[in-house]
């Protein structure tokens, strides 16, 4: 059977039709793009997703509420902590449970560390897609340390299952706080080094400047979220504008794209916003680690073993590394969710590609994909 997507391709054979994926080094997972090109210049790139669809939402209807938590990790395995957090908050809202302060602090600490790790992957792979290999390795080196910390905290390096309904699974291990603070001291020096190495490299800037500009209106209309939205100049961060958890207690800036390399909303802005966000995350972790001693020791609220919320529905939002992650959970009063829906940043980011890919070069498509920081499982779920 002919794929329906091919009916959309202009068949006058003047252009070359290229399958950019599903196995391609720059698609960051299993994504396909049907690219119509005239030489190096693309007419458009039509994304074809779904290769990683694991029907996680359907699974959410089959498992009990707490049992779904490990599956949320698989929604976004580059920054699984946020997927945990979003789901936990949604069910807590349904149950009307108040999370103890220490758990909220721990959530903020773990999430911000994972945000740094995720952004390191994002900027690192981006530099690699642009052709520089060394910065990525440097990024991964720092990320390894964060993975070590998270492993010490919850026993897992990638799929954490750390946040639980009503709190978090474990308290800080001994000596962890000082080690993380020492790491952050080093990490704050790493960021300027990274900038010297690649961000302000003239070739790198020229490759990204004014490429794939997403205007403010487009970004909002296409539902871009997180760093992609901020890269287009929209000053919006859920942590500050619709605060949840421990975030109202911390001071941090929200970096917004300013057209550092040319135009607001180009690939460089989306990239650099992430670089600046890492710095802010480091600030937040530092503040949280300094104040966590003042919170009472309790890390779990009282949640019944058989989680059975009243009928109702709720939308929870968290600011994940890839922007707003929303869980829409509907309960029908039984111990299994009637519907679990995860709204993810990569899905909407992916949908904008067809519209803005016209006239770009093949090399720019690579820059565009990585600047949007799409993670394939998060698109398909």
């Amino acid at each position: 059977m002919e794929k329906l997507i091919l009916r959309r391709v202009d068949r006058n054979y003047e252009e070359m039709v290229l399958n950019f994926g599903p196995q391609h080094p720059s698609t960051h997972g299993v994504i396909n793009f049907i690219v119509e090109t005239d030489g190096e210049v693309m007419k458009r790139a039509i994304p074809d997703v779904g290769y990683l669809h694991r029907s996680i939402e359907k699974i959410g209807e089959a498992t009990g509420y707490p049992g779904f938590m490990p599956f949320t990790d698989r929604i976004d395995y580059v920054a699984a902590m946020f997927a945990n957090e979003g789901y936990a908050i949604a069910v807590e809202k349904l149950l009307k449970v108040e999370v103890p302060p220490r758990a909220q602090w721990l959530r903020a600490i773990s999430c911000e560390l994972v945000r740094i790790a995720s952004h390191l992957i994002a900027v690192g792979t981006m530099t690699m897609d642009i052709g520089a290999f060394t910065p990525m390795v440097h990024g991964l080196r720092e990320r390894e340390e964060i993975n070590d910390f998270i492993e010490a905290l919850c026993g897992a390096r990638l799929t954490y299952n750390y946040h639980r309904i009503g709190g978090v699974a474990f308290d800080l291990p001994e000596g962890w706080r000082d080690k993380v603070l020492a790491f952050l001291d080093r990490f704050d020096k790493f960021l300027p080094e990274f900038d010297r190495l690649i961000t302000f490299n003239e070739i790198y800037k020229k490759r990204l400047a004014k490429v794939a500009v997403v205007s403010r209106e487009q970004a909002i209309s296409y539902g871009l979220v997180g760093p992609n939205l901020r890269g287009s100049g929209v000053d919006w961060d859920l942590r500050r504008d619709m605060p949840y958890g421990a975030y109202p207690n911390f001071e941090f800036e929200v970096p917004v794209g300013k057209g550092w390399a040319g135009a607001v909303g180009d690939c460089f802005d989306r990239y650099y916003v992430r670089c600046l966000e890492m710095k802010e995350s480091s600030r937040i972790v530092r503040q949280a680690l300094e104040t966590i001693g003042q919170t009472p020791e309790e890390i779990m609220a009282k949640v019944p073993r058989n989680v059975k919320p009243d009928a109702g529905e709720v939308l929870s939002r968290v600011e994940s590394a890839r922007g707003e992650m929303a869980y829409y959970v509907v309960s029908d009063g039984t111990n299994k969710a009637y519907r679990v829906r995860a709204r993810t940043g990569s899905f909407t980011a992916m949908s904008i590609i067809e519209d803005i890919s016209g006239g770009l070069m093949v090399a720019d498509l690579v820059a565009l994909i990585s600047s949007l920081d799409v993670v394939a499982p998060e698109i398909d779920r």
């Binding site: 329906l4 809202k93 929209v234 009928a311 709204r343």
Partner: protein, 190 residues
């Protein structure tokens, strides 16, 4: 602006076509009339003072009991930081509704997903294809009564529990060992 105020303005403009705000169990929603969804959405997105410019989510719920499929719209305003949830109830046998792709571009893919997984047709959608599943997939998996067809083009989508297979191999080996020993040390289990 609170959700109630948004709802009031909506009510004032569209009258009976907008249902009452649900009893605020947790998140309140308003059921609106299917035929007017595009108008309502455009009003909410463009009207000064409301400007719900961000379609946060568009999904659906399947209620076989009521023979309904509900399409759910989550709207948020960046400027005013308020939000509202709209729902439209559709006939489960032939669910169909106008697309809001003209209001928010992001609805394009959300609606494709709902079409794929719930089988809701969006009239006027520019590119209504399945998004997650192959084009020739049968059925809409997120419907409550979805039954797996048992395979796709000859590929089975069920798999024997690996433990069962391992146990079988174990049994075979044990039987062989027992045979080799000539059944001296006790009766061999088949």
């Amino acid at each position: 602006m609170t959700t109630t105020e948004i709802h009031d303005r909506l009510k004032a403009r569209f009258g009976e076509d907008v249902g009452p705000l649900s009893e605020p169990k947790i998140d309140a929603f308003a059921v609106v009339k299917r035929e007017r969804i595009v108008e309502i959405c455009r009003f909410l997105a463009k009207e000064p003072g409301l400007e719900l410019d961000f379609l946060e989510d568009l999904t659906a719920l399947d209620w076989p009991k009521n023979n309904q499929i509900e399409v759910v719209y989550h709207l948020l305003s960046y400027r005013h930081r308020h939000s509202i949830v709209l729902k439209v109830q559709l006939d489960r046998a032939a669910p169909s509704i106008a697309t809001v792709e003209g209001v928010w571009k992001t609805a394009n893919w959300f609606e494709r997903e709902v079409y794929d997984l719930f089988g809701v047709t969006f009239e006027g959608h520019p590119d209504l294809r399945r998004i997650m599943l192959p084009d020739d997939w049968i059925g809409h998996p997120l419907r409550k009564d979805y039954q797996e067809t048992g395979g796709y083009h000859g590929f089975s989508n069920v798999r024997e529990n690996p433990l069962v297979e391992l146990k079988r191999l174990d049994d075979v080996r044990r039987a062989e060992a027992a045979n080799a020993a000539g059944g001296v040390d006790g009766p061999a289990k088949a």
